[in-house]
Symmetry: C2
Subunit: 335 residues, 2 copies
Amino acid sequence: MQTPDRRITLADVAAEAGVSTALVSIVMRGAPGAGAATRERVLEIAQRLGYQPDSRARLLRSGRSRLLGVVFDVRHPFHVDVLTGLYDAADKAGYQLTLSAETPRRADRAAVDDLLQDRCEALILLTPSLRTADLAALAARLPVVAMMRAVRQRDVDVVQTDDRRGARQAVDHLVGLGHRRIAHVDGGTQHGAAERRTGYEEAMRDHGLGGLIRIVPGGSGEEDGARAAAGLLADPPTAVTTFNDLAATGLLDVLRRHGLDAPRDISVVGYDDSSFSRLAHVDLTTVAQDIEEMATRAVGRAIDRIETVPVARREVVIAPRLVVRGTTGPLPIRS
Amino acid sequence: MQTPDRRITLADVAAEAGVSTALVSIVMRGAPGAGAATRERVLEIAQRLGYQPDSRARLLRSGRSRLLGVVFDVRHPFHVDVLTGLYDAADKAGYQLTLSAETPRRADRAAVDDLLQDRCEALILLTPSLRTADLAALAARLPVVAMMRAVRQRDVDVVQTDDRRGARQAVDHLVGLGHRRIAHVDGGTQHGAAERRTGYEEAMRDHGLGGLIRIVPGGSGEEDGARAAAGLLADPPTAVTTFNDLAATGLLDVLRRHGLDAPRDISVVGYDDSSFSRLAHVDLTTVAQDIEEMATRAVGRAIDRIETVPVARREVVIAPRLVVRGTTGPLPIRS
DNA sequence: ATGAAAGCGCTAACAC
DNA sequence: GTGTTAGCGCTTTCAT
């Protein structure tokens, strides 16, 4: 039951099987060029010895790593959800993922450096907080795909949701329910905030509601939504679209404390379809990003770049989809 | 702006500096044995060339990776929170983390295999779903630390919360508020459920409330809590402790729909202090696991094993701490 | 179908 | 203080 002091190597398996290491290598990789009988025997021995190829040595020699580096943020509500799709897509394409997390005390820079040292062939960054210049420098070294954030930089690929459209969907939904006085809680300088704001404005105008446009400062946290609610209370609209789910719940909570219930008195739409928005307690109508599709496209694009497949546009824009839950409803009678 | 077709190697830097690769190696590692002037010049050149050491080659040669493999589950509410602490601790000890995620379509086995191929020196598994036998097999190969799950296996280190004590804290809190009819929503076969149940029972008895013990079947999901609520409605207790936060919110929601408000009519305590329990909307009193402490201890233990520091006990048990929020309050007057 | 030999980028042991 | 040499575990020619 002791930890074996030495790992099993190709040479061990070869010795045991009485063949050369080259042959074992062929068998382990499933490459053509080995007899069926030998193949079987070598496999059996490798299994018995508990041999596991050393990916480092393997990659060092072959020059390729088939490794995709992914940076995500532990604080971000749905970054982990994206990982699921990323693993699926990478797996299907015969690539491996290596993860590096950004934490409150670990900058994205550190996360990226780890990945670079691992000799990833491409980087997939979830809502990267790196400055555009840094992203450009990175992209000069290896293919970089940014997810869920716009990057105005020729060498960086982008996979993101059509946020303008998402915001429009929210407004369309509310107008369909009879609402006219619809406010928008803004996301400030957050990535995507400008697009969502614009989508809201455009949709309002398209519905002939340009005169009722009302944008209140907000942010990405619950407290930002709460603050926005305070600003709304003097003259409450009948519906609100928000920058994200967290802001929406903060808003809802303050409204509720002041006797305004959703959807009875006011309708609220979030953004992101964060896992908590599905909680029965929260039950938030929200705009869902198509996470699976985005993940698939991001991996696809990364691999295209690695294998130098020519791609038409740098940006991939995915349509969002409104998830109607319990915080939106018909216009209250008196209002 | 093209991706350079070849990476910069030690040899490139050496050539440019007009010194040997060995010397550059010494400089890059900050090892003693190089002149100050040379050191500076080499560093400058490496910087200018954008040289990044190849960790694979480095580790292949040195035999050590100083790499800690971590397996977490994307579905688990606070696994990502643990990562933060893990990174901090590893960083401090001069180790690197390499992450591998378990997803709905990627078994822990696959996650572990990736890590093994990377030649981690130890594995830290967050609430591993591997069977004990598999854990034992793993532990025979390298040090394994299981977090937040008991493992009855001599060779596996365990860092977990004192769940019995956590459940007791919940009951103590409720009794302190005057409650006597306290029910417990059980976690079934989930890891930790037995301990939490036992803690509840013991605390009830200690308070002379043994006759009022009432355990209803539950689970780890919101729907499990909802189901438990249904069973409670015929004869509602004045307070409930639950297996986890998700079950607690499911419970709370059903109760609320039936006119039972927390904490006015009934008090509810969750478990885990999941991020959503902090939402103003949820505002759940809950038992918090000391994530930072656990992370520190897990990394410490992993490193102790790697460096074969003798350790006294295999199990590290961390005290939890009750976080009082808005779902618990004094006993309702009539009841 | 199989083996011998070279070498991926780096570090360690030793020489100078 | 600096260079030389050998080799980590594997894949890849190139022979056979």
